[in-house]
């Protein structure tokens, strides 16, 4: 591969990243704006952050969102993992192709339709809209994402690990909890994180399925923005970005470290082996 960057490449990278990140950078900068007017820069200040923490409405919404995201991500992870297991393991049951297709469908289904259909369901069974219904709705759509993430890991999972565990006397349940789950846990954790973030920033489905007393942060932000963007909203969004970015960066650093450590271990094992058998490489 050619390591040097041509001018064309540099221009493409700059353009691409500008397109992606300029709006976000602007938002972060203006969250530190002194002025009440969002578009006029009047010096650096953190007062909107202070004000934010005295805005009970926004804090309540944030707390609701956090709880909804945590519960729905956790339940969706359990359900999604089981769905993925069923779809990769029992390859010979009738209608497997149909079920696999159906687990993917919600990923491409317009959110409006998912939201509306869930609303109709809740109305039909007489479930009062609120915290419960929005959580259920988030479980429903996040579960598919988890299933897809875990399924792709299971496809490369060495089944002989499970056979070895059973061969050594472990019951199917013990095998699952002591061998399968620990091995696929990175995929399960990233499935959970995906479900959590999806729930965190969902507006459309929440708008359909939420009710009084269960306003999520995106709903709150959206309703406030309709009255005009305030620097307070910028501050909230900056905090959200910081939280998500920290999570993503931390996860990738941990992964990278583990990978480097693993490679080093493997090289060392190989070297020890070569020395043991008197071979020079």
């Amino acid at each position: 591969m050619n390591a040097t960057l041509s001018r064309f490449n540099i221009v493409s990278i700059v353009l691409g990243f500008t397109f992606l990140y300029l709006p976000i950078v602007l938002l972060v900068i203006y969250s530190f704006n002194e002025s009440r007017l969002v578009t006029v820069w009047a010096g650096f200040s953190t007062k909107w952050y202070v004000e934010l923490f005295s805005n009970q409405g926004l804090l309540d919404a944030a707390w609701v969102t956090a709880r909804v995201a945590f519960i729905s991500a956790s339940v969706a992870t359990v359900l999604g993992t089981f769905a993925a297991l069923a779809l990769t393991r029992y390859t010979r049951f009738h209608g497997r192709t149909l079920f696999t297709g159906m687990i993917f469908a919600p990923l491409v289904m317009p959110e409006v339709i998912t939201g509306l259909s869930l609303l109709l369901l809740f109305v039909a069974i007489g479930l009062d809209r609120g915290f419960m219904t929005v959580t259920l709705a988030h479980i429903t759509f996040a579960m598919c994402f988890v299933a897809v993430v875990v399924q792709s890991r299971l496809l490369s999972f060495d089944r002989s690990l499970e056979e070895a565990a059973m061969d050594l006397g472990a019951s199917p349940a013990t095998t699952f909890f002591q061998v399968t789950l620990p091995v696929i846990s990175p995929a399960v954790v990233s499935g959970w994180m995906l479900a959590f973030t999806l729930s965190l920033d969902d507006l459309v489905i929440a708008s359909f399925t939420s009710g009084p007393g269960a306003t999520t942060l995106p709903m709150k932000i959206y309703s406030q923005v309709r009255l005009g963007v305030t620097p307070e909203i910028n501050a909230v969004c900056t905090i959200l970005i910081a939280v998500v970015a920290t999570g993503v960066i931390a996860a990738s650093i941990v992964n990278k470290r583990r990978e480097v450590q693993r490679r080093r271990d493997e090289q060392e094992a190989q070297r020890a082996n070569n020395i043991a058998f008197g071979r020079n490489t």
């Binding site: 002989s160 690990l161 070895a164 050594l168 620990p182 693993r262 094992a269 082996n273």
Partner: protein, 379 residues
């Protein structure tokens, strides 16, 4: 080790009509959809035997092993272990352990924990587990690596961990699926002898699946040659090599020359075969009858190549031309082309460092062999 050698020499329970088989496959058939992996197979294996299933990939040998371990259920037939029918017993309740081709070491556990896994499932007290793990680590010489994870080990070390883990529970039978397949040649040869010693030491029954005939010949007491889900022959390595039951077995194990012909005459122990290429007088003819179509099979190293005409050249001799020579160090392979175009494989041991007047390409040469050097096959 002297005593182990003498045990091995006298070990032949299959020849004893009163011996009870330890593992019995009775008319076992296994189908996957339309594909028949194992076809009406019956096989007896005795206690403390080192038994090898040898065959090309897809011959059903691994399926047989997996049925014994409980990962596959026979479509029909019966598998008995020590007189007990294994039908319906799940893998985790069978007194057999398996060593997997991929080793299947648990990547998130240390070497120690891998070996202890099976013992924990049995609810063994932890002090006893620690003791047994230590013993196993000593057995496979891996004590310094107890705290390492599998990815911190070399291929040979992983193989030892897998072995230690599978024998830690002292199973009645150890199943080994291509146990040495992933090792390089030198390490494989060393490990073959270690496995044999280990089997003697622990007194277990070993059932090994392999596609490597050298491996099977080296290690096993008896070998079953398999093809397309059926057993072609079960015998000791020497019998398989020197007295193959069919052309398939003769050709599968080692290298062989086959001459086709008709039995022209059958005396008490000498049969005469008339063929297009060569006329043969041979012992080892079994129960063939006059007029029957037969094949004479002879191994390359049992054929003598010489530039001189042998004394009695009407039978068991032919003149040809040296077609190809391959010098392998310990021996030399000559391919001799006969007048009808057939190429005969021969090999001679290089017992002297320098050979005077060696045969070379395009030389005229005679091939000849003794009357007991080959066998007559009818199938």
């Amino acid at each position: 080790m002297k005593s182990l050698g003498s045990i091995r020499r006298s070990f032949a329970p299959w020849a004893d009509p009163d011996a009870k088989p330890y593992i019995s496959f009775r008319n076992v058939t296994k189908r996957f959809g339309d594909f028949t992996a194992v076809n009406d197979l019956s096989l007896d294996i005795y206690e403390r035997e080192f038994f090898a299933l040898l065959g090309a990939s897809g011959c059903g040998k691994s399926t047989l092993l997996r049925m014994l371990a409980g990962f596959e259920q026979p479509t029909s037939g019966q598998i008995l272990l020590d007189g007990q029918d294994l039908k319906g017993i799940p893998p985790h309740r069978r007194p057999v352990n398996m060593m997997f081709q991929s080793y299947a070491l648990f990547p998130h556990m240390t070497v120690e924990k891998n070996i202890a896994f099976g013992l924990k499932q049995d609810g063994m007290p932890s002090a006893k587990i620690a003791e047994r793990v230590k013993e196993m680590l000593a057995l496979v010489k891996l004590e310094p690596f107890a705290k390492r994870k599998p990815h911190q080990l070399s291929g040979g070390q992983r193989q030892r961990v897998a072995l230690a883990r599978s024998v830690a529970k002292r199973p009645k039978v150890l199943l080994l699926d291509e146990p040495l397949g992933a090792l390089d040649k030198k390490l494989r040869e060393e490990t073959q002898f270690e496995l044999m010693d280990l089997q003697q030491e622990l007194g277990l029954t070993f059932l090994v699946v392999t596609h490597d005939q050298e491996e099977a010949m080296t290690m096993a007491d008896r070998i079953a040659i398999m093809d397309r889900g059926e057993v072609m022959q079960v015998a000791t390595p020497a019998e398989i090599y020197e007295a193959p039951a069919s052309r398939f077995v003769a050709d599968f194990v080692g290298s062989v020359n086959l001459f086709e012909g008709k039995i022209a005459n059958r005396d008490k122990d000498i049969a005469t075969i008339e063929g297009d290429t060569i006329n043969i007088r041979t012992r080892n003819a079994g129960d063939v009858e006059q007029g029957q179509k037969a094949w004479f099979a002879i191994r390359p190293e049992k054929i003598k190549v010489s530039s001189k005409r042998p004394a009695n050249a009407e039978y068991n001799a032919a003149e040809g031309e040296i077609w190809d020579i391959a010098y392998l160090g310990d021996m030399t392979v000559y391919h001799v082309k006969l007048p009808d175009g057939r190429v005969i494989k021969t090999s001679s041991v290089n017992s002297a460092r320098v050979i005077k007047d060696p045969l070379t390409w395009n030389d005229r040469a005679w091939i000849s062999f003794a009357s007991d050097a080959g066998v007559v096959l009818t199938s």
